[in-house]
């Protein structure tokens, strides 16, 4: 790995990329493969999934049986290292202590960022999702359309490998033939949910996840991704042959040492490094973007976390891919005489319109799934099926009482037992024990079905972040202060999720242990909790209503780009990662174009 230290950082980079996750990984990949010299700055440590991923480790060999702790919130074997809800020495604040007005911020401080542990759910935004305001008058339209992004979705899906199927459903785009990998067979609980969902009008189809159900076509794909670029084709072809197909074991959240799923560290960075065009500087906390005398971005000031020393890295262009909120922080902390309110902020919109995903869950016990013959249901890790939003017509007729939709993810099957223990219904309020416990554990294992709703949040004036006037982190860098408020749309949507899921459990012949709460305020997760935060540097068609232009290029600074989810003008129910990567590729193309044309 071409990892560099502050001493060996060159002064001859075309682009400095801040961040190494989905956005930074994709931007650096595209730039390096197309010949640009790139320096990537990452706040966390170097991380190598091939040698560090706990494959096949069982929970009885982990502390506390693998249970989540404040140190490892998603469980001991989760891939995240060096980060979490709390990062020591790196606080953030909330402006309000009122219930429901808190934002909670997950930060992975490691090479590859959150891509190392993410759920690998890779859904495309649909045509409606880029023009939501035109449909219902709320929020904003993007300045680009599905057609602008579709070619990049195709490319990203071919590069990272996504399984799924084309079902032709409304606002749920198909991929071109041959782009998706075949989806895995559904599990038994998923088939039951599909059958019983039909009566409720709920369509269950294969989910799209970034997991290789077979090896990528290393001959056909590279020429399609890098036409006319023999070196890039050769490097990618060789790299694709080093990625094994899924062997249907070990949860994806641990990362994958055989590189069968996508993470930046196994898919984007190895070929980018193989070009010789990428240097990676880890343990470097970006502080601000500094300018040249003409007001263009000249590079990035960063703290070497190993020494506490401040350094500069210069380049012809700067790409921010630090994650939506961290990118906001960098811009607002980049104050100068020319930009007294922070860089790229002449609109005053940097930090505005932070969005997360609406999240609520529900589950129940389904007797039909009791005492089934033991069989291996690990599969590709997460759910094999999902439900795209399906109530467009009802919503248009005003029958739902809220705008925008959600999709549904599944939890079924006889998964590896964890510290929480097997599902035990404890009939009659009795805590089962002894031989009855053993019989119950056998009978009920795999009979609990859970549904996870993930829905769209509409950007609002009350959800934003700014620089806290007094609090700084351990390097003296001012921190973010969050403001948060869900609107009635999100709150009602969360209640609708639980009501729908409870009905579905009953349609499966199952039982709900309690009635769903009609007040969505109690169902919805806190802002930030779903870890889908986007916005803060939204794109638009005018410098007065947005921070970047339709190419994710700052209106105020021509050689400054935002590659992460900050540019999202809406946050569709679709998990943002695939769209982040598609836009990052598109942004990198713009950087290359602008450099070729001599504009930057």
């Amino acid at each position: 790995m071409a990892s560099v230290s502050p001493i060996s950082v060159s002064d001859n980079y075309d682009v400095v990329v801040v961040g190494s996750g989905a956005a930074g990984g994709q931007a650096a990949y595209t730039l390096a493969m197309e010949g640009a010299r790139v320096l990537m700055i990452e706040a966390g440590r170097k991380y190598d999934p091939v040698s560090e991923t706990p494959m096949f480790q069982t929970n009885d060999t982990a502390p506390l049986r693998g249970a989540g702790t404040p140190d490892k919130y998603f469980g001991f074997h989760d891939a995240t290292v060096g980060g979490g809800w709390i990062v020591p020495g790196e606080p953030y604040t909330n402006a309000s202590d009122e219930e429901g007005r808190q934002f909670t911020w997950w930060r992975a401080r490691m090479l590859g960022g959150r891509t190392n542990h993410w759920g690998r759910i890779a859904l495309r935004n649909g045509p409606y999702d880029f023009k939501p305001c035109s449909r219902d008058g709320l929020g904003f339209d993007w300045p680009i359309s599905y057609e602008d992004v579709a070619p990049y979705y195709d490319k990203v899906e071919m590069l990272i490998g996504v399984f799924g199927s084309n079902n032709g459903l409304e606002n749920t785009p198909d991929s071109p033939d041959g782009v998706l990998l075949p989806p895995p067979r559904a599990r038994i609980g998923e088939l039951l949910a599909r059958q019983r969902g039909r009566g409720l009008g709920i369509p269950v189809i294969p989910i799209h996840r970034a997991v290789l159900t077979r090896m990528l076509d290393h001959r056909a794909i590279p020429p399609r991704l890098h036409p006319g670029n023999a070196k890039a084709q050769r490097i990618l072809s060789e790299d694709m042959q080093g990625r094994a197909a899924c062997f249907w074991a070990t949860p994806c959240g641990r990362g994958c040492s055989i590189r069968a799923n996508y993470q930046s560290t196994t898919v984007h960075l190895p070929p980018a490094l193989a070009t010789g065009n990428l240097d990676i500087l880890a343990n470097a906390m970006a502080r601000e973007v500094y300018l040249d005398t003409k007001g263009r971005a000249a590079g990035v000031t960063y703290i070497d976390k190993t020494t506490g020393q401040e350094h500069r890295a210069s380049a012809r262009a700067v790409v921010l891919a630090a994650g939506a909120c961290e990118t906001v922080r960098l811009l607002l902390n980049s104050k100068s005489g020319r930009f007294p309110n922070g860089l790229a902020n002449s609109s005053g919109l940097v930090g505005r319109y932070i969005m997360d995903t609406v999240g609520a869950e529900w589950g129940g016990h389904v007797p039909l799934l009791e005492s089934l013959p033991p069989h291996n249901e690990d599969g590709a890790g997460g759910g094999h099926v999902y439900v795209p939003w399906w109530l467009y017509r009802e919503q248009k007729r005003g029958r739902l009482g809220f705008a925008r939709g959600y999709h549904v993810e599944f939890g079924t099957g006889k998964m590896m037992p964890g510290a929480e223990g097997p599902y035990l219904p404890d009939a009659g309020g009795t805590t089962s024990f002894g031989s009855r416990l053993k019989e119950d554990a056998r009978r009920y294992y795999g009979s609990y079905v859970s549904f996870t709703g993930r829905g769209e949040m509409i950007p609002n004036r009350d959800s934003f972040c700014e620089i806290d006037p007094t609090v700084v982190d351990k390097w003296g860098i001012p921190v973010l202060r969050f403001h948060w408020k869900w609107s009635e749309h999100e709150i009602k949507q969360a209640a609708h999720m639980q009501r729908t899921f409870a009905d579905w459990i009953e349609a499966m012949g199952g039982t709900n242990t309690k009635a769903p709460d009609p007040d969505g305020r109690r169902a919805i997760h806190a802002g930030g909790a779903i870890i889908h935060e986007v916005g803060g540097t939204i794109m638009g068609n005018s410098p007065s209503n947005s921070v970047t232009n339709p190419w994710s290029q700052a209106w105020d600074v021509a050689n400054l780009f935002v590659a992460d989810g900050g540019v999202f003008a809406s946050n569709a129910d679709k998990n943002p990662t695939l769209t982040i990567m598609a836009l990052a590729w598109r942004t990198a193309d713009r950087v290359l174009d602008e450099m070729r044309r001599g504009n930057i």
Partner: protein, 226 residues
Amino acid sequence: MNTPDPMRIDRRVAIKWMLTASAGAVFASRPAFGVPAAEAPAGAPAKPPDGYGLDPDLLRAYKPGDLWPLTFSAAQRRQVAALCDVVIPADSRSPSASAVGVTDFIDEFVSAPYPDNVRDGKKILEGLAWLDAESARRYGAVFAEAAGPQRASLCEDISRDDPGRPGLKPAADFFRLFRNLVAGGFYTTPEGMRDIGYEGNVPLARFDGPPPGLVERLGLTDEVKW
């Protein structure tokens, strides 16, 4: 003769239990969940306590006691092992909980530095103290020395919330917590996973979905365009 209520909890234990419950409430809002230090509930730690940290070795196989000292006395170990085996006894398919190291896991859990462990660990220690006192009062022997049927009978009495005996609730809460820990500890072991039929965590050349016949048996179909 006026026999005392066998389920009456020793008053001192009950008071301690109440104090524990109120102390636990400080941590109930889970300060780790992204709440900045400045806004964490009063009394909560500003940062996670010393556990294994944010970057532990994930490849290593750990045993209870490797990361923080275990704290059970010999008598507590005997008691916990006895209670583990009332909760999960041996049968023809799998061994008892204590035989596969669940006693060590409970000790690890109670001794861990994290707020949830501190809170639940106190409840468990209080519950264990009550259980020994109650066993001694009823049978003239601490729990580990009581006869099998006596242990089972005592557990039976605290395996449900009895609305007629509200004073019993802390004991019932303790038993549920302890039972859940034992089940989590047991079914994560190879023996426990085998017992309930977890067949995963092995590499496969292909994933075939449900076994032959099962889809039809449940009246389902798998012919959708996948």
